[in-house]
Symmetry: C2
Subunit: 574 residues, 2 copies
């Protein structure tokens, strides 16, 4: 395998052998290690000294089920921490099949121009990207597929990334060529924009494919693991049927659906925006309630959502998006939320950050709470680069500062997502302490807190939450390195044989003899690398805290986020 180093200052590409220390790393483990090794933690995230690293996971490109996650690592302009954000779509599989371990993009063009990278079996090439400047993601993909073939994967930024806005995402096309899977969080799109890279076209025609040392052993483990996923009630039934939006009713019931900028734990309009409601709407309009974001996914939690006239509107329409523009902004119109989702994908911004930001704009009085048309108008302005759009496009904390609002739900500058930390305390611990800023995926304690997966920990009490969050953060760092979708964790937590099967696949592919303990050690080691980077960047335990307003009691349970600093600091006791 190769690592490609693209220097945008010089306009050069170099293929490098994979160093031994990187050989058994992939995904987040690899991107975080390269960033830690090569990027000065105090550098400006949008300056020439930051880098952007793309890496498929260890199992990507194989027949391992749901193994198509692409990791993108950088120093985040939003959080100023190290950042890994991963997405589905077809990029990771194609890169892995092309024998590409990682692409490192460094430097900055002196001419301020935009380029397209073309990745094929022959290597990486820089093409003029001028014609794409200003285009939104759907058009970028269409244009590039017409030039380079319908089967290529397009990784691109929209106008938000060109403007280097901190909420800018990097879009990855799915199996249908739609830019609906995003490395959303942390402004990776702004870094790509600062490198002058508008798009990356990945063409795996005649790719050598992934070599596997012990094919029989791999096949057996993959098949077995696939079965475990299909047999799990969440992975095999809940997610395929309703997608992640199934969580709207569940969290609302639990009193943990943050409503009106984290004022309440339940939203009156929840049933109108629930997964069940969405399922009915999709079926009525001949959309697809079940759809895979990349070939080989058995959970297929995505969907295709049509508008009132039965035309395609959006896909990959997630719980967190519906929550952010919905309950958080008190908008109960699912079509309006779907339009906002489509706009985010097209402009290239994180739906969570933008939804929380629109809620903060409502808090500031720019538009009233519940104003769906106003929200659509604000989001359009982000795509147009107008001053108000540039404020909003830099996220919730930035918008709050512009308008003097102090009620801003962020940790390390990144918006708190769809689970109130007072009613789902385990995930609150993750928000506070994650190396990534507020991020539910970094240690998804919603499992044991709400879904009764991997045990049960009372979501309203402090007991057990720190241990739960720690264990999940460690496991997640490891899973994020495999290329497996985090949703496999539901099965892993409930089925003792699932993790050994993942280890079997890795061992079979690479000819290793790792144990389950090694996986835990890998997770710890990744977190330590990330923590160390953040410490050098200036982060201390005092940043591992939630905003002070979470000491307000949350209806309906009247709970607060009542962990002491010392308790939170116990997460990193290893």
């Amino acid at each position: 395998m190769k690592i490609y180093r693209v220097n945008m200052t010089e306009g050069t590409v170099r293929a490098e052998e994979v160093k031994e220390k990187y050989a058994t790393l992939g995904g987040r483990g690899l991107t975080s290690q390269i960033i830690a090794d090569e990027v000065d933690p105090t550098c400006h995230p949008l300056g020439p000294n930051n880098k952007l690293v793309l890496a498929p996971g260890l199992l990507s490109g194989t027949n391992a089920p749901s193994s198509g996650r692409l990791s993108i690592g950088t120093k985040s302009p939003l959080t100023r921490t190290i950042k890994e954000s991963n997405a589905g779509g077809t990029a990771a599989q194609k890169l892995a099949k092309l024998g590409i371990k990682a692409i490192i993009i460094e430097g900055q063009p002196q001419d301020g121009k935009f380029y397209t990278l073309k990745v094929t079996k022959d290597g990486v090439e820089l093409l003029d990207g001028t014609a794409l400047v200003g285009q939104r993601n759907y058009d970028v993909g269409k244009q590039l597929r017409s030039e380079h073939g319908e089967n290529v994967c397009v990784v691109s930024i929209g106008p938000a990334g060109e403007y280097k806005l901190s909420a800018a995402s990097i879009a990855v096309t799915d199996g249908d060529g739609r830019p609906v899977r995003h490395c959303g969080r942390g402004g990776t799109g702004a870094v790509m924009g600062s490198k002058g890279v508008k798009a990356i076209v990945i063409d795996d025609t005649d790719a050598p494919g992934v070599s596997i040392k012990d094919k029989e052993k791999f096949k057996e483990a993959a098949k077995d693991f696939s079965k475990m996923l299909l047999n799990h009630p969440v992975c095999g039934q809940g997610l395929p049927t309703y997608g992640t939006a199934v969580l709207i009713n569940i969290l609302n019931e639990a009193g943990g659906l943050p409503t009106k900028n984290f004022r309440f734990g339940r939203f009156d309009g929840a049933d109108k925006i629930s997964g069940e409601a969405m399922y009915d709407v999709i079926n009525e309009r001949n959309g697809k309630p079940t759809h895979g974001c990349h070939p080989g996914c058995v959970m297929r939690c995505s969907q295709v959502y049509h508008d009132k006239d039965g035309n395609y509107l959006t896909a990959g329409f997630e719980y967190e998006t519906i929550w952010a523009f919905g309950a958080h902004c008190t908008i109960d119109d699912l079509d309006a939320i779907a339009t906002l989702d489509r706009l985010c994908d097209d402009i290239g911004v994180d739906t969570i950050e933008m939804g929380v930001t629109i809620g903060v704009a409502m808090e500031a009085g720019i538009i009233p709470f519940g104003d769906a048309d106003g929200a659509i108008d604000l989001l359009q302005q982000v795509g147009e680069g107008k001053p108000l759009g540039r404020i909003l496009g830099n996220g919730a904390e930035f918008t709050a500062k512009a308008y003097g609002v102090s009620r801003v739900p962020t940790v390390k500058g990144q918006s708190i997502p769809a689970y109130d930390p007072r009613a789902v305390k385990g995930v609150g611990v993750t928000y506070a302490t994650s190396t990534m800023g507020a991020d539910h995926t970094a240690g998804y304690s919603v499992t044991a807190n709400i879904l009764k997966v991997g045990g049960q920990v009372d979501p309203l009490k402090k007991d057990g939450q720190v241990d739960l969050s720690r264990n999940l953060q460690i496991a997640t760092a490891a899973i994020d390195s495999t290329g497996l979708c985090l949703f496999v964790a539901f099965a892993v937590l409930d089925e003792p044989k699932a993790l050994p099967r993942i280890v079997d696949m890795i061992n079979a592919q690479y000819g290793l003899s790792l144990t389950v303990d090694d996986v835990t050690e890998l997770g710890k080691s990744i977190l330590k690398t990330e923590r160390e980077f953040n410490a050098k960047a200036g982060f201390t335990n005092s940043h591992d805290r939630l905003p002070e307003f979470f000491n307000e009691e949350l209806d309906p349970h009247g709970t607060t986020f009542d962990f002491t600093g010392e308790e939170l600091d116990e997460v990193f006791n290893f």
Copy 2:
């Protein structure tokens, strides 16, 4: 003496006895101690848990020459560090004469309304401030003087403070009732706005005055100290004649006048905006080249600047302001810069932060470098609260982020002022390490680097700079506690008997027997208190660094800012 505690949540005022630990503190020493004692370092600067503390210096209200500085302390919304910003004008003298040691403003009105505080010999009273909302500082002062008498001092915020913008200042009227002296740096005006306080009217009618234990000893020391100031070439001649703008030609000559967003050390248009040019213009138009910002100042470095028609335009027109809108933005039109200064005073924003911000806006391409009319237009938008104005009004780093600019000259979020750290390395050390963010006044190494005051340290070399900055930072923290203008330091550095005379005055007033060593210890102790607050707020040594672009060589000397982190960390070795 009394401390008044104004609780804006409750709408109450309480007079408190001065605790023993506060008895011998004043100015910055007192504001920083109260903030450290009462404010959670991790609180949101614009939330209800931050506080705003106003305190006259230890010698304010007496006949000590140039002792009328008012300190305002808070947690800064710009830097998120502890902050003390001090200003001249008549507030400190009046507060001290009223027997007021400090005013602590806490909480936040629930109704979102604005109030006026009226301070008289009878205490502090809350008045409705609704009628003043939206008014700029000149109008606020006019209105309040018409209501409360021509001799009151008005401390107020303009629209920028109401909008809670991070560059918002707090204006203090001078002896002529003009709002030209500002606690400029760090967004203290935004905190005042967040407390719902539009203005503070200070009426010292029938004030008891400052009690002095040993009047004779005080009088003698004050007289002696006054002579030393008048005999010093900077305090007694340079500053009274040309004001601080005398530095334009000096810094340009030294190659340390940052030009075009810190690209060059010399500005072609320097002679057009120099102190000497200003002196001629002022005299031609019957302005006043020499003017005191408060009664009893012997240095009188202020001036009254008239427009082309001979009408008053602005006063307190400082070197740093002229630099920021001048060389930094490559504007060489003194009248335009005076208009920008007037606008800053009126809208209530820090001239340094705004000037640097306009330069960053030019870097972003919003207007071209050198565009004076464009700069005036942008500044007007800050006063109008439009989206672009809200971006600019939050300072240089914020504006840079909004427009994806990575060349931003800030430390801890605060703009680097008028002395290039590569050509005046001692002040660079201060910018990097000050507890306040980039602040030349925190340790003004320009003295020995450029002015040959207090010794000589080659400005282009590293040798001696860390010691110089450390000693000046310690001395400054102490002087900032006395109410004395920092400019007395020129005399103190050159005249060994000057500091003992300051100590004599303090001892005579308070019946103490402090030594010169005690003053040094006071300075150290203040810095330690501030550092500790900042550490709890999440600051580490890695924040004590300059932006990475200062490794570019600066014309004409070809020097870089080449201190290692370890060298900079030696500043706080005590």
